[in-house]
């Protein structure tokens, strides 16, 4: 595998050819925020938080979908980028009813974490306060559209890892919604295997287990790598050597 050299924030680093910029940046210990990206799922490039500035020309590119190439010069935290990231987060908070105080994921939510990290203390835009339903028809899980940021991790994990493709997206623009089957109640879905992968990968409180109340929901993304490693290497232990505990 060919080695390439990339300049990140004025420092020369080496990476592997074919790597995405995001992977390379994170390998350097630089924290680049993402919401739609999740290790193990195909990239979407939709949240636009991982945008980096590429010299010359200062063109912006989403790091998750840009392959790292020899000689690239990128900046990850310029003033402009931080400003845009903050604006994008504000837009997300304004889009739906993200009320952290009564959310099952309060304290563990990725959206909340990113906003907290970047120092977003208020939203300058109109809250759109859409009238969105919840679907609690499933035996074990609930979908609360008010918390959904349309990252489509659930859609992707259901399609490519579970192979059920229960989830999909309907509508256009701000009226988009994730749906089960052909917009039928989740509980009546014929294709859903109730595996719960979608719930575990969801970055916010949109998908959660029934019975959890404020700040009680704990999600484990690492199961995904466990499954993918297991399938590839027939080795059903976690990366650090411990077996995956059941029931989580």
């Amino acid at each position: 595998m060919a080695v390439i050299t990339v300049t990140i924030n004025d420092e020369l680093v080496s990476g592997r050819e074919g790597q995405s910029l995001l992977e390379l940046v994170r390998e350097q210990g630089i924290d680049l925020p993402t919401l739609c990206h999740l290790d193990g799922l195909e990239e979407r490039g939709g949240c636009r938080l991982c945008m980096v500035e590429m010299a010359p020309g200062n063109r912006l590119a989403a790091a998750c979908v840009t392959p790292a190439q020899e000689g690239m010069v990128i900046y990850t935290h310029s003033e402009r980028l931080v400003k845009y990231r903050r604006m994008i987060l504000e837009l997300l908070f304004a889009e739906r009813n993200h009320v952290c105080a009564v959310c099952v994921m309060n304290g563990r939510c990725e959206l909340q974490y990113e906003a907290y990290t970047i120092g977003m203390d208020h939203v300058r835009y109109d809250y759109l306060t859409p009238d969105l339903p919840m679907d609690a028809s499933h035996d074990r899980f609930v979908i609360d559209h008010n918390r959904c940021i349309l990252c489509t991790r659930c859609v992707r994990v259901c399609d490519s890892v579970e192979g059920a493709h229960t989830w999909d997206v309907m509508g256009r623009g701000v009226n988009c919604r994730v749906i089960t089957d052909l917009n039928q109640p989740w509980g009546t879905s014929q294709s859903c295997t109730s595996c719960g992968k979608c719930v575990q990968v969801c970055p916010t409180g949109a998908l959660h287990a029934k019975g959890s109340t404020v700040a009680e929901m704990v999600k484990r993304h690492d199961f995904l790598q466990w499954i993918l490693d297991g399938r590839e290497n027939h080795q059903w232990t976690m990366r650090n050597g411990e077996p995956m505990e059941s029931g989580r």
């Binding site: 990239e43 979407r44 490039g45 939709g46 949240c47 636009r48 945008m51 912006l60 989403a62 979908v65 840009t66 392959p67 400003k83 845009y84 604006m87 994008i88 837009l91 997300l92 304004a94 889009e95 300058r124 835009y125 109109d126 759109l128 940021i149 349309l150 999909d168 997206v169 509508g171 256009r172 623009g173 701000v174 009226n175 988009c176």
Partner: protein, 570 residues
């Protein structure tokens, strides 16, 4: 069928047409049909039958002739005389045209369209050279005017590499709006190592007020098909798709017929013109999403997936339909291929400016005397388009701005009327060439209101994949709404400008990246209008009602409103 058969067919058709002393060409494209073109054609046919003149007068239903606002349009072609155009033809007028003009050579004065109209004189018809002269539903008509000879020539005399070189030499650039050099794109696909390749024609024309591609597909479908077949030969593809907007049923029907007719005669399908080249074309109908005009979303739609763009690279030329290299060009770009092969790259490159070659079709709309479809050489000035071809602004009003490029473009104010219309000049002014919509506005148009209209369009049409476009357009629209109803503050204007830059720089596809353009260009040239709306709460054009007040001023406004309501109730 081979080349000789093609020539025989052309000859036979020319002889057949020559037998008629007079031909009545009746426009049957969408604008004329919607203003009663079908009844006019029926009336012409009936009148000829009544006069028993079937042997000397023929009625031909053709494609678009250009002056769409004056439809239905009828052209009278008498052998040895200049063509005469009639406007606003009614069934009664049609009968009179047959009786007086076709049979007795006396033109009907009241419906006559002056033949020296600058509308026709200033145009250069290259892509639309057949439009309005042939019956789009008859292959023979197209062949009689030299159709499919370019394909035959390319297959026989040129190697695929030659074709790409010829296109590069001609300087043709993509007519979808961005202006990427077509020859370069063709060469990329040709060189891509894969056994299976595709050619896609993008006919998902969605800009409000634009109908260039529709007209080309409706008026001269075989030209598009021939251009695609030449492209297929040049890049090594054996399958083409033509993606037609769902709102264009006439275009889809005529293309379908054209494909069948061409396949039956061996001009498409397996072993095209008895060569070893095979090329099949299928139609895909869109389902009403504007974003499907974006190439990656369009390909997703062709593959039966949700019409959403995906990040580039990989570009379609590397990995497109089902992962194979795909050449995707606008319908109008394919319309340019036949003339380039027919007359040579040098002839083509002589038209236009240094960097923008050839002609461009515009759909001229808005506040001008002559609206319609025009084809002009690149480098023509806006003034010539608006005041010569368009005939100026009606009712003696002032020209204010021209909007090019639809929701992705911008407004060009009066001081730049003498700008040459080409890709670079328009870009420098903050607008784009776009697919060819050109809307003229007079002093009764309010610029923030125009910006609001386009922002609403982008908001509705955002696919919802990336956050800046999905939510940013909604927020920008709401700010514009406040500006136009009088409740905006200076903070709103600042937020709007920030959002514009952010959405443009961070969106995933062209739709989001260009959605702020109408706002940015109007802010650039008409900033005082925005400030008037905010600071003085007035709309000079008189479009916006300005009935609201900023939230912070509601304290003073509310008692006033209550008093006013009380007085009304007494």
């Amino acid at each position: 069928m081979n080349r000789a058969d093609l020539q025989t067919m052309a000859q036979r058709e020319q002889e057949k047409q020559g037998k008629y002393r007079c031909r009545l060409l009746c426009c049957a494209s969408t604008p004329c049909l919607s203003s009663g073109g079908a009844a006019v054609q029926q009336a012409l046919e009936d009148a000829i039958k009544e006069q028993d003149a079937n042997a000397e007068v023929a009625v031909v239903s053709t494609g678009c002739m250009g002056p769409c606002s004056r439809g239905p349009v009828v052209t009278v072609q008498i052998q040895g005389e200049n063509d005469v155009y009639y406007e606003n033809v009614t069934p009664e007028a049609a009968r009179q045209i047959v009786a007086d003009h076709a049979l007795n050579g006396q033109p009907v004065q009241e419906k006559l369209l002056p033949s020296d109209l600058p509308f026709f004189a200033k145009q250069t018809k290259v892509v639309l050279s057949n439009s309005g002269l042939i019956d789009p539903e008859r292959l023979e008509d197209y062949v009689a005017r030299g159709g499919y000879l370019a394909l035959a020539y390319a297959l026989r005399e040129m190697s695929p590499e030659d074709v790409c070189t010829e296109i590069s030499k001609s300087g043709l650039r993509g007519r979808g709006g961005a202006g990427y050099p077509s020859g370069l794109k063709w060469d990329l696909v040709r060189k891509a190592p894969d056994d299976k390749k595709y050619v896609v024609a993008n006919g998902d024309e969605g800009d409000p007020g634009a109908y260039m591609d529709r007209t080309l597909m409706e008026s001269d479908p075989h030209r598009v098909l021939e251009g695609m077949a030449i492209a297929g030969y040049a890049v090594g593809a054996d399958q083409g798709f033509i993606y037609v907007r769902g709102e264009y049923p006439v275009a889809a029907k005529r293309l379908e017929r054209a494909i069948r007719a061409a396949e039956r005669r061996g001009l498409l399908g397996s072993r095209v013109l008895d060569s070893s080249f095979s090329f099949r074309i299928d139609i895909r109908i869109g389902a009403g999403a504007f974003v499907c005009g974006e190439e990656t979303a369009l390909m997703a739609s062709i593959m039966g997936r949700r019409g959403q763009p995906v990040p580039r690279p990989p570009y379609p030329a590397q990995s497109g339909l089902w992962g194979h290299p795909t050449l995707i060009n606008n319908v109008e770009t394919f319309g340019n291929i036949v003339p380039i092969i027919e007359h040579g790259a040098d002839w083509y490159a002589a038209i236009g400016t240094e960097k923008s070659k050839g002609t461009k079709i515009f759909a001229l709309a808005g506040k001008v005397e002559n609206t319609g479809l025009i084809e002009v050489p690149m480098g023509i000035t806006l003034r010539e388009i608006v005041f010569d071809i368009g005939g100026g602004i009606p009712d003696g009003r002032e020209f204010k701005a021209a909007q090019t490029g639809g929701p992705s473009g911008g407004c060009i104010p009066a001081q730049f009327l003498d700008t040459k219309v080409d890709y670079e000049s328009l870009k420098a002014l903050g607008s784009i060439m776009g697919s060819g919509g050109l809307i003229v506005m007079d002093d009764q148009s309010c610029m923030p209101d125009v910006a609001k209209f386009f922002m609403e369009f982008c908001m509705d049409e955002s696919c919802g994949k990336c956050v800046p476009c999905r939510v940013g357009t909604v927020q920008m629209y709401r700010i514009l709404q406040r500006i136009t109803d009088g409740s905006a503050t200076r903070q709103d204007l600042q937020n709007l400008e920030e959002l514009c830059t952010m959405v443009r720089e961070t969106s995933l596809c062209g739709l989001g990246q260009s959605a702020p353009n109408p706002v940015m260009s109007t802010l650039r040239y008409f900033r005082e209008e925005y400030e008037d709306h905010i600071n003085r709460r007035t709309c000079e054009a008189g479009v916006c009602e300005m009935t609201e007040v900023p939230v912070l001023e509601l304290v003073e406004e509310l008692p006033r409103r209550i008093r006013a309501a009380a007085i009304r109730n007494q």
